[in-house]
Symmetry: D2
Subunit: 343 residues, 4 copies
């Protein structure tokens, strides 16, 4: 069985495994205050072109989302996001666990826009009984979205301008950020950092064993973040494991290279799907593709490949998720393409 | 600088590193449902002689503590523990973050006893206004304690008998459990499992990169624990990393061997301290030793060794923590012993 | 200015004021354990024909909602409700404050149905990754709904049968329950009690100064509810104030009589609106009516009456809320009707 | 049976009952935005000599404590208080329910002092691992304390100077504040307001049916407090009930007069106890007295009076609470004094 069902089916990029092995007997202090973490922070601050950012390493995405959001909101405030947003759908209420309501907005291709945010916030304050309603106080988006789609540079700039005007911090979930950067070179990592208050660079799904690098640009949001990490159960004793991985990823661009290769492979699969006349649920430019396959097609491919069920689409078909990752081999991708063509 | 300040200064036991490297390109499903996790669960259930236990792997100790406690208590209930307990002192309110009060009891050598629990619970129910007071509803202890001390088998049995009589689940934090088992062979791992409702086997401080194996014996506490893990931000995408590590640790007793070696080394250091006439804060039988050193002695040793500051003890001295671990080399231990003798 | 904007514009029914005055110097114990509370509980249990119910008195509706919901759910569970439900829209995240997600379902005339609940729950369990999603674990409805509409007896029975089959407790918010009972005599108070696990009888909006009587029929949900009340800040020191009010209300049917009068008046206003050709947002049979008035009509009526803004409806009109209550005088209602006819 | 067991055994001062009756059919808007609340706020701001304070009315003390504390702290912060403080002992974890740890300090006569606060805070920041520990971030005291004792003006000034220096808001629980002001005329209500950031004036135990007036002097703590009230379930629909009561209390000093009378009566009882040679647990100057009575004495008095059990004191005696209130009649007090003398 060849797996294309998600982008966390293997361990880590060999260069990371080598670095972990090479440093294994170094003695360091704990909790992310060692030299590897320091180096990784420096590399990342250079990559995002933001020397004043605070960079913290967390183990996973849900943890990063809940920690950042709880660090920003006051108790009666909520976070705006697409109804399809990860925090709204797939985190078992981790945001609500910290006492905050997720405020869903209608999504279009997995995205929300500045106008929706403005309308929501203005309606809130227009309501005479606004203190009876959760106060919208920050915005969460994912780049790429759950559907593999992308905010363009101008969409992001417009959204952030709106957020700044309304004094709502903008937080970008970058669990798969590498794949977004690989897919659209006109929106760079420094562009991301310039157009939000906090974001994170996902490692778990882009070549690391685990790890998300939270970058806080807005200095009003930096205070005491390490307390928040510890309080939410997210402070890794051997914090260096995160530092060592992100050192490898950002020393000379490995993060970008592994993502590019994955996107390249995903686009080859996409081309085969289109050529075959298989409809796509979304026009995704990243490592996740969502063909609508008949049950018969699913059965044929399912004998050889693990694909992800995504959603029912009515009739005899379902939307299926095909993911490539830093670890997908050309061989496996070629095989899948052949088998798609043969459907 | 040679570090003896804590037991998480290195990476992981070489056998674990080798296993991670060897499995790196295997493709598995995520979230702890892969074959490695399954194997590790089987090994552990055999080791604890409890085939019906549920075993879950979490990344760290604070996460394990907060997840287990929140899964057991109803909103108005609290957890009894020693005032020196980790959940009361060093987790930045992670238990309170889930809405529960920690109910501290006076500690003696880091321990609490059955009588204290009984007295507290009886006093609660005797009070006519008991619903104005947090209801004591479970008991948390650590083996070994924060001070490196141990519950004897009979102390543990007495405590658990009391807990069962009072219908309070007993939860044992075993972040350093390996060192306890190595120090007192009359209280075995199956004894631990038989004398509590939930406990965990700490990997982070006993040879793993990270990881705690939560074992739930009480079937009333098993339901939906995976939801709790996800909700608390603790579900690792590449859950196999935990499975692979605990496979190595419990396939043929590596966990016990690495802990034994560390305790052996700690007791050699302890003997040197006693021989030198240096007072000890606690009579610890495990990998943590707490000599009371003068500032001058601290200065001399501090030139070569990183030791942990533990507490002020008045006058010109402080209690200092010296930790060995699975990674301490005989060489470094010999050097420290020589330098203690030369003080 | 004559107020028809909500149903809590006056104090309390004169019989309640008289009872409070008459008992003012009685000495009683606190916290709801006095004889008045006991009497009131007995009257209510007789009225709902459920001698085994537990009855607790709380001060207000949001408090009742958040306390009941938090007492039922485990941390990773959520509550299903209409997207227009009070807990979802107008309680500033009080449910989320206790760590739980509100799971909104599409509403039709303010209502949800058994099929929606069944579909949601089945979809949850069908999803292989269900532990990544908040578990639906109870259902909340209001009778009457936010829009003044009513569940019929058969709708309620069907919904409750479905809830029982799926093991989801059904909780009915009865903040305005009196008005529902007055509007539809085929669905009685004992019917309500037989068709849910918990509900409350609203006093605040139906003749009391304040107070909601929570009735717990399901014995699995009764344990330690007084702890929950205290923990959520809802335990009134002079609990007798609640007992005295509900004694008056349920000794000989005052609760039903005041509600009937209010509904009668509301239906007279409704008839005038229809006669005048003014469209209604909802076909409400209870004390809340929602005419769609032009801005010009609003201006004219607004000179003499305080009406409630409800929602924009596009164009030059808005949906307006007109509420009667136990306190509306015939005189004021007559005046309003005359002025509606004169529009 | 004559009750002296607590100070909430009757309804409200007759002047309040009269005002509620007189205003019963006035129509007002809800949620504390009516003219009575406005008037009451103005009277209180004049009484505390702080025209810029924000004044909010809440129903009860636990609600006031949990709302104020949750409005001030960030998630990882805790509140310092005496180990005997109400929030630590008798609120069923309402503070922990909002995610915050209560940080208890050793009490002396129910009080804590500036030095204790300073030591705790300095120790926190000295600890290298401070982010592993709940951050002390505000101070809670009660005036009078749980034991009926009082902070002197200079003690309070010293404590507040320390709090300001350390940037910790000081919050005073004034559930029985009237009795404190009556007992020590050198510490006035404006002194209280000048020496803390937030406090509340208790009505429930000092002549009202219920109600606590929260006064926020520190403007950094004022923002969005009404959202907090609603979110914590504390917003009373008929908010005017609170306004009407506090209007009566503060229009021309009724609050002070009722408290004075109660303290006068308490001191007469205290004198009788001393004269009789009965030991007192605490030297209380307020409406609560704590004689240590033998079981035999308790039995005799218990036939005629409801007294409060306070604590075991060893041997054959217990500390008993005797409370007077605004409602205690001279007759009943005289009777009790006679019976004490006859013991």
């Amino acid at each position: 069985m060849i797996r294309f069902d998600c982008d966390y089916t293997e361990g880590a990029h060999p260069q990371i495994m080598a670095a972990l092995a090479a440093t294994n007997f170094e003695q360091t202090c704990g909790y992310g205050e060692d030299a590897h973490c320091e180096n990784a922070r420096e590399y990342i601050k250079k990559s995002i072109e933001c020397p004043d950012a605070d960079v913290h390493f967390l183990v996973g995405g849900t943890q990063a989302n809940m920690t950042v959001i709880a660090s920003i909101l006051r108790p009666y405030q909520g976070v705006l996001c697409a109804e399809s947003g990860h925090i709204n759908c797939h985190e078992t209420g981790a945001v609500e666990a910290s006492g905050h309501k997720v405020l869903p907005l209608t999504q279009t291709n997995g995205k929300i826009n500045a106008q929706q945010v403005r309308d929501y916030v203005e309606a809130h304050w227009r309501d005479g009984a606004h203190e009876h309603i959760v106060q919208p106080a920050m915005v969460y988006i994912s780049q790429p979205t759950e559907y593999g789609t992308l905010y363009t540079k101008s969409e992001l700039e417009e959204l952030y301008a709106c957020c700044k005007e309304l004094s709502l911090p903008l937080f970008i979930d970058g669990a798969r950020l590498g794949y977004a950067l690989a897919a659209d070179k006109t929106l760079t990592l420094p562009d991301i950092a310039r157009n939000c208050d906090v974001f994170y660079i996902g490692g778990t799904k882009v070549g690391c064993l685990f790890g998300e690098a939270v970058c806080i640009m807005n200095s009003a949001l930096k205070k005491d973040f390490r307390y928040m990490i510890k309080r939410m159960g997210g402070m890794l004793a051997k914090g260096r494991l995160l530092g060592i991985q992100f050192e490898e990823m950002f020393r000379d661009g490995l993060y970008f290279r592994v993502a590019e290769k994955a996107v390249e492979n995903a686009l080859r699969i996409k081309a085969a799907l289109i050529e075959k006349g298989i409809p796509l649920l979304m026009d995704s430019a990243t490592n996740q593709q969502f063909p609508i396959l008949t049950r018969a097609q699913q059965k044929v491919l399912g004998e050889k490949y693990a694909l992800g069920f995504w959603d029912t689409t009515g009739g005899d078909s379902d939307a299926i998720r095909i993911c490539t990752s830093w670890a997908s081999t050309d061989e496996n991708v070629d095989a899948l393409i052949r088998d798609i063509k043969a459907l």
